[in-house]
């Protein structure tokens, strides 16, 4: 499974960002191998529409799930319509992905 994680850093040991829309990078992890790709978030410096811009990156990267500290209404609308599940997560990117695999994360409606 491909999982997108909002992060303030650029590797698996970087922290999960509190906000999807304004995170520096979106790290997309292939959970079978723990290989990852780093996408910079165009929403980080956007005047408005940050959540939508970040959601577009997540979708274009082919992720099926997304983890962040929190989500705004626009990105959640995008994910729920596009069939991408959003989860609240914390800790490092690696820890958050592991928590998802261990079924410990809560999906956001």
């Amino acid at each position: 499974m491909r999982v997108a994680v909002a992060s303030s850093g650029d590797d698996l040991d970087a922290p999960v960002d509190m906000r999807l829309g304004r995170c520096a990078n979106i790290i997309v992890v292939e959970t079978d191998t723990m290989n990852f790709e780093v996408y910079s978030n165009p929403g980080a410096l956007a005047g408005t529409g940050a959540g939508v811009a970040a959601a577009q990156v997540v979708a274009d990267a082919g992720a099926e799930a997304v983890i962040a500290g929190n989500f705004g209404i626009n990105s959640l609308r995008a994910f729920s319509n596009g069939g991408i599940t959003a989860y609240i997560g914390s800790g490092t990117v690696r820890q958050a992905v592991q928590a998802l695999l261990d079924d410990e994360l809560e999906a956001v409606e």
Partner: protein, 298 residues
């Protein structure tokens, strides 16, 4: 100045609560006394229009203000994502099979429809506000813009409201506070901008921003000092240094505040102010004539 083309005056201030609306409505009432039926007051503060509270107009007509937003035909759309890629405001997104529009983020630029290779996007009207038309018992023509609740883009409504300026009338535009787009959009319709301020450091800081905005836009301006009282000379020193006319001083006076709180303009509550208000407009006309003459000589 030809009779058919009367100068339009905007009334602005760097911050809210300075006295813009009190001055603008008072000016309209005083001018209408000497030019009955030839005065128009346009309330361009569409985020919080309130000139009606002081002028008590009868509204006879409401016209909608629309902006264009995209509508996607999902049967034609190939989900190529060009629209989302080109939108500068993230107002449209292609999330896997879903195509989502976010009308409140849309700037109505139309690039999504322009780049769509299959013609799946059409631009449709979306109402973001309205413009009310009416008049007061005394015959002041009244126009007031109002942004729809929940909408955040004031500028299209401001523009639709200010464009009601009638050059054959004496038009007073009540501008929104600050110096951002809606204020600029308003004063652009005017020949002269009257800046209302208070004789305080805070008032001066806002006045400096307002003056700079007028200068950048090439709109001549003068100053009205509201709640004037002796003490701090900063605003006067600044105006003297910049060569900006102080057109009027409205004193710090409890009676004026009480009349305002009752919903009365200066000109209604204190008829002795009418001549002074008319004089302000005449001074503005004179200043504009002089500028025009100077330009011709150059």
């Amino acid at each position: 100045m030809p009779e058919q083309n009367k100068p339009t005056v905007s009334v602005a201030a760097g911050k809210g609560g300075t006295g813009k609306t009190l001055f603008a409505t008072s000016l309209a009432v005083a001018l209408n006394e000497v030019n009955p039926g030839q005065v128009q007051l346009i309330d361009c503060d569409v985020e919080e229009p309130n000139a009606d509270i002081l002028l008590h107009p009868q509204i006879t007509q409401q016209t909608p203000v629309n902006v264009l937003v995209p509508e996607v035909d999902l049967d034609i759309c190939t989900r190529c994502g060009q629209c989302a890629k080109h939108c500068q405001f993230s107002a449209i997104a292609v999330i896997r099979d879903a195509v989502l529009t976010f009308p409140d983020l849309c700037a109505a630029c139309g690039v999504c429809a322009y780049v769509c290779p299959t013609g799946a996007i059409t631009e449709v009207n979306r109402q973001v506000g309205s413009v009310a038309h009416g008049s007061t018992v005394q015959g002041i023509k009244f126009v007031q813009g109002r942004l729809s609740v929940g909408d955040q883009r004031a500028t299209p409504v401001t523009k639709a409201t200010g464009s009601q300026t009638d050059d054959s009338m004496i038009t007073i535009l009540d501008a929104p506070p600050g110096t951002a787009c809606p204020m600029q959009e308003t004063i652009e319709f005017s020949d002269y901008c009257i800046l209302v301020t208070e004789p305080t450091p805070f008032g001066l800081a806002n006045l400096e921003d307002s003056v700079a905005t007028c200068q950048r836009m090439g709109i001549p301006c003068g100053v009205v000092i509201n709640r004037d009282q002796a003490g701090w000379p900063g605003v006067e020193d600044y105006c003297a240094g910049e060569g900006i006319d102080i057109l009027l001083r409205i004193p710090q006076d409890r009676q004026i505040a009480e009349a305002y709180a009752r919903g009365e303009t200066l000109a209604d509550a204190f008829p002795q102010w009418r001549d002074e208000l008319v004089r302000v407009y005449n001074d503005v006309v004179e200043a504009l004539l002089q500028t025009a003459t100077t330009k011709v000589k150059e």
